[in-house]
């Protein structure tokens, strides 16, 4: 079946360092969504990418969708303690018409 894998599973960084999480799908996606879940909270939608090669920015966060629409990345520049949480990608698969969530990357930021 369709799978969406994320790496790394965990990442610990010093405040001010950059962070990147990668999302890879076994099949082509029609879109990719990114969500953030704070500790003890629920996933909250961040952004959606639809076009091949698309890049979007939200302040210190940069989101990319691969040319083949099978992978995506989220890069955070100069992390802050408020960035702590688990970041999930979720891809919508053409052939199953389902949104499949990735396994998530848990980010810890040390002050």
């Amino acid at each position: 079946g369709q799978q969406v894998m994320q790496i790394p599973q965990y990442q610990h960084v010093q405040e001010g360092e950059d962070f990147t999480t990668y999302c890879n799908s076994s099949t082509t996606l029609s879109n990719i969504q990114w969500y953030k879940q704070r500790p003890g909270g629920h996933p909250v939608f961040l952004i959606q990418l639809v076009k091949s090669g698309e890049v979007k920015k939200q302040k210190r966060l940069t989101f990319q969708f691969g040319e083949a629409k099978k992978n995506s990345s989220l890069h955070i520049t100069a992390t802050q303690t408020t960035d702590v949480g688990t970041y999930f990608c979720a891809g919508f698969h053409y052939n199953t018409d389902k949104l499949i969530f990735g396994t998530g990357t848990r980010l810890q930021v040390f002050p």
């Binding site: 029609s30 996933p43 979720a90 018409d97 389902k98």
Partner: protein, 113 residues
């Protein structure tokens, strides 16, 4: 703001009990979803509904059923709870099917002893 509420934040049930988890959304969304979240496995779709009285199986429907009698309410039922159903259960809704973001409820942490 879209609000998705779930009936309980924490629930403890015994093996074999019938368990009802309720979810209500207040934005007239067509689609509603039930996920379970387990460490290292991400969010896995149990069931979803795209209309009243309509339901579709997700990736892990075994041991669960759902009910959607009204547009705003989507219930998850564990017919006979088992210890391997101990998990965080998240309800979500979206405007309609397709390229729309999902809004999540606060989650119910269910422990089956």
């Amino acid at each position: 703001d879209v609000k998705v509420t779930q009936s309980s934040r924490y629930l403890v049930k015994r093996t074999g009990e019938k368990v009802f988890l309720e979810c209500v959304q207040d934005m007239d969304h067509e689609n509603m979803f039930w996920y379970r979240q387990d460490p290292g496995l991400g969010l896995r779709l149990i069931y979803f509904s795209y209309d009243v009285k309509m339901k579709e199986k997700g990736d892990i429907p075994e041991g669960y059923s759902v009910s959607r009698e009204k547009k705003e309410r989507f219930s998850l039922i564990l017919e006979s709870a088992s210890t391997n159903q101990t998990s965080m259960y998240l309800c979500a809704s979206s405007v309609r099917w397709g390229l729309y973001e999902q809004y999540f409820g606060p989650g119910t942490r269910l422990t089956v002893t």
